[in-house]
Symmetry: C2
Subunit: 327 residues, 2 copies
DNA sequence: CTTTAAAATGTTAACGTTGACATTTTCTCA
DNA sequence: TGAGAAAATGTCAACGTTAACATTTTAAAG
């Protein structure tokens, strides 16, 4: 591989000038610049970023750690993130942690030793011990951490969607269409917004919320199925992406058609939900990704962290899966 | 940040020994090893990979260039690739080329200057000029290139799915269920297998194949719609992932139910196709990813390229979207 | 023409590791 | 016990860049 010295020799300048030319230092005379570029082109010379990184102690590389892998949402986040970062000359290292503490630890080590500037991560720990261990380590490192769809740590910036608002918007929509007997399936941390919508019209959720967070897929499936059979809800509201699948699967098994037999409101839009004309609580993913990139870049210049939490507002996308019924 | 010298000082050894310890060099005495590790732990020392990469002229980093972004298939590939690579201590840099020649060029430059060992890429060029320009550059670089779902270049290993076999399997299945008037939508390069299935039972495809490769989504939509109305096929066979969406969208617009009004065979499985009970031509994605990783790793040791093309065989997943009709 | 400042380029060392080679320490066995 | 081999560690330079500083060249002004 050609180095700056090879180019320098042929161009009759010092390797420092070559370096300067590639960094577009205005001190390089235009004609020198042209000569250097021409020769570089011929030699197929590209500056060695590894050497540059070592010397300048900056890598222009961001690490992205993804926990729950198979969610199209992450493809979109990754895509937007990478595109925005690339525009500013940054690279993106990606890693999947498989929800495994050892793997999490290794990824962190690996990214740290790769000297990444910033690490964007989805919820990491699974228990308190792991959380503390990771926290201590993260605090100690001088890496810029950003929380994606989570805000477990106060010391790091967080970028989330307001899930309670999502629950509220969903519940309000269903209530406004006359539904009262609603089955909400999903994480427990979204109950507040859900309940609030009921309170606004002076009533209470018809039956207790199904806590499905920590159980196996099969258990959740059975729970949802049982709840539907028992309570005969007129609408089902999935309040996490995976719950869309789960709820839809139960409905298929029970041979219930949407919206004829039951109304369905999903969470986190995707292409199929769109094609199936299923109403959904959508999220401004691009805005969130853009915000993350801005934070990363501003850290570069300021090099000072004032942890902030940014929460983006979900919105209702009405399609044809929620039937209006008489109260 | 602590360096090997800091650790060395405290451990009373030379930095070289620290370096050896972290590389698990058997020459390091076990007790020395322990001492070094203990002190490193206390200092929060992690070897600086950037320096290591520079010195050893190896980065243990693989670049992945993705062309057609929003396809769950790629999430799975990426996921598997990353997991396998991580197991061997490799990192994955990801980039989306937006199907844009300039972006492609920049990504290549960026990955090259990052000194990646290997680059896995999906179809790159859009025209002959671009193909040649890229090819010259790639040949000239000493990077190990691997083609993912494409085999445009003979000089680089390629990993593909046998799409003609996919077309054949799909067509055969539809024919076996009595369908003769089939509308196949998708890329032109899969006709052979499709036609072969017809020939096997001594007949010809009912009407000309729809070439949809190079047009806009809206044009394709109209073309498919017109074809359905004109030819009234009893089955529709999507032969590329995006065609699933497109075909399904047309069917929704025409208010045709699957499989009552028309049979539907999709391409490239995903979670929703599964839930919708749509039969599909599936692909052994994990096997392909595994094969790529093996190729990458073996290049490390052998450092010699004998370009090979590996083609994986698709398979039919029967569900409930194809109706059996009387011939 | 000098003088002087500004522009352009050069020199040197350092970033933190590792490979090659040199040296010291420990162990083995006659 | 001491020679020789093996084990363990050390020294030094190099990877290809860039920051800091030094020097040369060019342009501007008197």
């Amino acid at each position: 591989m050609a180095t700056s010295k090879d180019v320098a020799r042929l161009a009759g300048v010092s390797h420092t000038t070559v370096s300067r030319a590639f960094r577009k230092d205005p001190k390089v005379k235009p004609e020198t610049y042209e000569r250097i570029m021409k020769i570089s082109e011929e030699l197929g010379y590209t500056p060695n970023q590894v050497a540059s990184n070592l010397r300048s102690q900056k890598t222009k590389t961001v690490g992205l750690i993804i926990s729950f892998g198979f969610n199209p949402f992450f493809l979109e986040i990754t895509h937007t993130l990478e595109t925005e970062l690339a525009r500013h000359g940054y690279r993106l290292l990606i890693a999947f942690d498989e929800d495994n503490p050892d793997r999490q630890w290794n990824i962190l080590q690996s990214l740290a030793s790769a000297q990444v500037n910033s690490i964007v991560f989805t919820p990491l720990y699974r228990d308190g011990n792991q959380k503390n261990r990771l926290y201590r380590w993260m605090k100690n490192s001088n890496i810029h951490f950003l929380q994606l769809i989570s805000n477990d740590y106060d010391d790091f910036a967080s970028f989330t969607f307001d899930d309670n608002l999502g629950a509220y918007l969903g519940a309000r929509h269903l209530l406004s269409q006359g539904h009262r007997n609603i089955l909400m399936v999903g994480g427990v941390n979204r109950v507040e917004g859900y309940t609030r919508a009921f309170e606004e019209i002076g009533c209470k959720p018809a039956f207790p919320y199904q806590n499905l967070s920590s159980e196996s897929k099969e258990q959740n499936f059975r729970k949802i199925k049982a709840a539907i059979l028992r309570q005969k809800p007129t609408a089902i509201f999935a309040i996490a992406y995976d719950m869309n699948y789960l709820a839809y699967e139960v409905l298929t098994e029970l041979n219930m058609k949407v919206p004829e037999d039951i109304s369905f409101l999903a969470f986190d839009d995707d292409r199929w939900l769109q094609l199936l004309r299923i109403s959904v609580i959508g999220h401004p993913i691009q805005a969130l990704a853009g915000s993350i990139v801005r934070e990363i870049l501003s850290y570069e210049t300021e090099n000072e962290i004032y942890p902030s939490s940014t929460s983006f507002k979900p919105f209702l996308i009405e399609r044809n899966s929620v039937l209006s019924i008489q109260v």
